[in-house]
Every structure is written in structure tokens, then in C-alpha cells.
Symmetry: C2
Subunit: 226 residues, 2 copies
Amino acid sequence: MNENRTYPMLMVDVILLTLIERKLHVGLALRMNPDEPFFGAWTVPGVMVRPEQDADAEAAARRALLSKAGVSSPYLEQLYTFSGQLRDSRGWSASIAYYALVPADAAPETQDKFRWVEVDSLTQLPFDHMTILQSALERVRSKTTYSALPIHLAPAEFSMSGLRTIYEQVLGGSIPGRTFERYIEQLDILEPTGELKSFGGAPAKMYRIKQRKGGLAQLGPSLLAR
Amino acid sequence: MNENRTYPMLMVDVILLTLIERKLHVGLALRMNPDEPFFGAWTVPGVMVRPEQDADAEAAARRALLSKAGVSSPYLEQLYTFSGQLRDSRGWSASIAYYALVPADAAPETQDKFRWVEVDSLTQLPFDHMTILQSALERVRSKTTYSALPIHLAPAEFSMSGLRTIYEQVLGGSIPGRTFERYIEQLDILEPTGELKSFGGAPAKMYRIKQRKGGLAQLGPSLLAR
DNA sequence: AAAATAGTGTCTTTCAGACAATATTTA
DNA sequence: TAAATATTGTCTGAAAGACACTATTTT
């Protein structure tokens, strides 16, 4: 009795985040298909899942990022699956939502079909994308309090207080410097480059992410969203 | 060009957990359809999503629980969406996985089409259900360390040390009693019933979940999986 | 020199956990 | 009475945060 059934629409949407001039920005793509809802509007990058093309949903999410935003190897983690009759005018649909983080220096430029928008200035988005964005921000802020997640927003080399500033931008509040340094040190995920660099004051020691050590496991997206 | 496309299979699977005789158990359903894979095997309760019937994926998960396990109002939270070509012999599929917690005294009896199996004694399950189970356990254990999640495994009224035992069973280790009481007290989610009850020693104060207070928000499933 | 930034030492407060002490039940 | 369980008080060590002090750069 199930032989010829039709399944509901299945898509992936990706909340792409970066830090530009000390502000969190989300990447939006221009909708180009006149046969689809919100033609000409700016939305979160997303694609329909194509089983013949995408090994799994994460592969579809990477395809969405590459084709709609030109981003190739971000930190990517599944967020939540949003579903129901009402979220898309074409009918019942499910969207497997992901969020992605890219360092500012690896983020694509704003183009005619892609642009960065400051998160705090956004008040609405098509579909339920505003809800998805809010969820992603909650998740990122939450993980920031107990993991090294914001490292994926940092450039290849950075100073300790530069990293602290990134954390502060993500969390939206200040962090005691002494506490922060002890916290990062205990995570054991950074190694000094040996260089010093000045940002308008005393020179700061530069760090990079420590490669291939035990402590790095906590950087990867656990299957479990936590 | 998308007009007549077929979408991949979309299903929900639910990891149903309870505590029986101080051990975590998972609810399994007997597969009854000879046209489907693993006919006659025990698997996690799941259904195909039916857009005309299910308001959203969570509704489908509730339908799976009610029809396959006879469970009607559990704590229910979305876990992760598993997808890909390989997880089901019928082809590319996506399963929106949920986990559910029920108190032992509200759990259905083992029947011919439904039964409880001790989690620690399970070594394999059909499809990728073992992976889903592992993820659910990780999630539950993780949330146990910073929320009152295991309360949903407790009966309507319970003692402080009874609740602590539940936490210990979920986490698989002992918890210092003094620390636990301070932790629970600070969550401000319990209220004393006024009764005392003995479990083989001095009588223990009984508690219930505090109703409709600010502190209760942390009990609900936040959309955000954390 | 003044201002900005970086890095480190240390004091205080807070909290988790250990442990003791007391109390009340069952065997 | 002995054993089991419950509840509360208090001590200790670890960690967070506040704050001060020194150092090095730019303006």
C-alpha cells in the first residue's frame, strides 16, 4: 500500500555566520527561481536534497554553501529539522537546518547574488528562516560557554585578546580577561606561533589551533548536538 | 524542472527510554509488515511521515509512540536527523530521530508487539538504530549534567535520594549526596508534598515537580537542542 | 609623556565534594 | 541492638572573578 507514495519536500538550509568588523553577520542568498516562493528575496542558502547527488544531508548542506555562497570548507554542524504544513506555501516540507562558521578572512565578498547582513539588524526573513537563525544563535552562544566553538570564526593566527574579543562578540558581553586565559589554556587547543604582533599597544603573542592532538576532539562537531 | 520530482523517504524514529528496576531500558517494537526490511525483527518505534495526517515531524513521532508502543504523553525531544543512501535498503532516506522519556509507573507493559530491553544488554539493532540509540544516550547523559531532564523518568512523587538514584543510573556513576541536593535545590523545580515515606531507613521527604513557575521553563524541550 | 594594549601575580568569594554527626526507620 | 537510609552541618581545596601591577607599544 506504500508502493507509489509521494514523500514530502526535503531540503537543507544553512545559517552561515562570520564576524565582520567585530559584528556577527549572516550570509544570505538571492532567490533566483521565478517558479519558487520568494523569488527575488534574500534568504538563507538552501537546496532541495538530491538523493542521486548528495551522499547525505550534510553533503547537501555543503552543496548549498558552495553553490549559493561560494564557501567551501566551513565548520558545519546540524542544528535541527524544521517541518510542517505551514512553513512553505508549496505544502508540507521538512528542512534539515545546519549552521556554519567561517573566519572573516575566508569569508566570500558580498556579490550580487550573495551578501552579508549584520545579525542584529535583521528583523525578518522569508519562510521560517528567522526562527532557524534564532535557533542557530542560541546554539552557538550556548556552545561558546563550554567549548572552543568560536575558534572557527578566528583567522589562522590570532592573539589571546583577539580571541577573547570574538567570544565577547558572539556572547554579547564582556569576559574577564584572566578567567578567559585560564579557560583557553585548560582546553589545551592552542599553540603559540612564536610571533609577536602589536594591535596598538604592547605586542601580543600569536597563537594557532593545535594540530592533531587529543584535545582537538572537542573542536569537531559531535554527532550529538549536545 | 522540479515539477514532478520525487523526494526521498522521510520517517521518524523514536528512542523510548524508561527506568525499570534501576536499569535504563529502551522500548522496541516488532516489525509487522512483510513488505518492509527487517520483517519480524525488533526495532525502535518509527513511522513514515504522512503529511495529510501529521501536522509536523513531532506529531509523527507521537503517532509512532502511540501506535507502536502505546505511550501517549512522554517527554519528547528531537535528537538528530540521520540520512543517506546506505541506512535503508530501500534507498536514500532521512529519519528525524527523537527521544522520549517515560516514568516507570507510566510505561506500558511488555506485550507481543512491544517490549522493553535493558540498554546495556543491547549490542545491535537493525538499520542504523544502534547509532541513534547511542546518540540518544549521549544526549540524555549530557543534559543530565546541566538540567533536570531525568525528572521525566521519575514517578509523580519521589524522594530526594530516589531522584538521585535515577540520576546515577542515567549517568552510570555515583553522585555525592550533598552536592546533588544543593544542585536540585538551586534549580528550584521541586516542591515538597509534605509527606514522609520510608524506603528501609529513616523516612524521606517526598517531592513533586513544581507546577507553572518560572523555573519550569528549563524542563521543557527547548527548540534548541543545546 | 600619555594612552592603549598585553601579560601575570594574587586576593577574595564561591562552590563542589569529603566527611562527620544526628536522626529515624526496618530487621 | 545493628544495619540501612535520610538529612544537615562544616571543612577543605579548586576555580572564578576582581583587581593591581608591570611591561611594551603607538600617538
